[in-house]
């Protein structure tokens, strides 16, 4: 499959850029970030359910969500403050996983119209330090392991 999502994380820098081109008009792409029910839907997967506890899409608003595993146990909570929210164009916010040593990151989302039916999202993420960024980049490895673990449990519970 074509690699539509690109991650640029240069060595020794405390930032990361994630870009993705969508086969969607920019208005629809933005809506996926604006509507709470849609955010919960696309941020969830068969192993993790994402639930928004608070979601204020406005300048100086804030948000909080929790992720639960397939058994309904809360895996983690995250929250942040919205610095700016420009409909159809830009979101600037902070993000922090609660009760973890990963610190706070600042996220700048830019939504761009390419053609009538296509658009591009650029996420610029700035971390507190290089070490912190690299630690977060390594996280999905651990997630992958826990996902495999969940999957094993799922299969085992059917066998019983």
């Amino acid at each position: 499959m074509e690699r539509k999502t690109k991650v640029i994380a240069e060595e020794g820098k405390q930032e990361m850029i994630i870009t993705r081109e969508f086969d969607l008009p920019v208005e629809l792409l933005f809506k996926a970030y604006e509507e709470p029910a849609l955010v919960e839907e696309w941020m969830s997967n068969p192993y993790t359910t994402m639930k928004l506890l608070k979601y204020e899409c406005k300048k100086h608003g804030s948000y909080q969500y929790e992720s639960s595993d397939s058994q309904g146990n809360v895996v983690f909570r995250a929250n942040g403050a919205v610095h700016d929210f420009i409909p159809g164009k830009k979101i600037i916010r902070t993000f922090e996983m609660e009760n973890t040593p990963f610190g706070v990151q600042m996220e700048v989302y830019e939504f761009e119209k390419l053609t009538e039916g296509t658009s591009k999202l650029s996420m610029h993420v700035i971390y507190e330090s290089v070490a912190q960024r690299d630690q977060i980049l390594k996280l999905p490895f651990a997630q992958g392991i826990s996902m495999a673990h969940d999957r094993i449990q799922e299969i085992l519970s059917k066998v019983k």
């Binding site: 999502t5 690109k6 993705r20 969508f22 086969d23 809506k31 997967n45």
Partner: protein, 106 residues
């Protein structure tokens, strides 16, 4: 923990990245590598030592000379480092696209 043994710390340095590029083309002696830089020979030796410590370079004795060559497995590890993270976002965005395409046709 010895920070210098961290692979990503090792490749953060431009001189060390150049060394990796040089030996990627062909195995080289420390002298031949140092000849490519204006910096003092001990400085280059220090860089080689760091690259050896994090297993990016491997030494090979050939007669009286010691040649340095690249450890491709370790280099592969670096390339794969970001992949699970990219995959996670790719999966999310694929889902977003599918959901919004259905939303559009509603």
């Amino acid at each position: 923990m010895n920070l210098r043994r961290d692979v990503f710390q090792a490749i953060a340095d431009p001189t060390r990245r150049t060394i990796l590029l040089l030996v990627a083309a062909q195995s080289m002696t420390a002298g031949a590598i140092a000849a490519n830089f204006d910096t003092a020979r001990p400085t280059v030796s220090k860089h080689l030592q760091i690259l050896m410590e994090c297993e990016l370079l491997v030494q090979e004795q050939n007669g009286r000379e010691i040649y340095y060559h690249l450890n491709p497995n370790k280099m592969k590890e670096i390339a794969e480092f970001i992949e699970p993270f990219r995959k996670m976002w790719d999966d999310r965005f694929n889902k977003l696209e599918t959901i919004m395409k259905k939303y559009k046709s509603k």
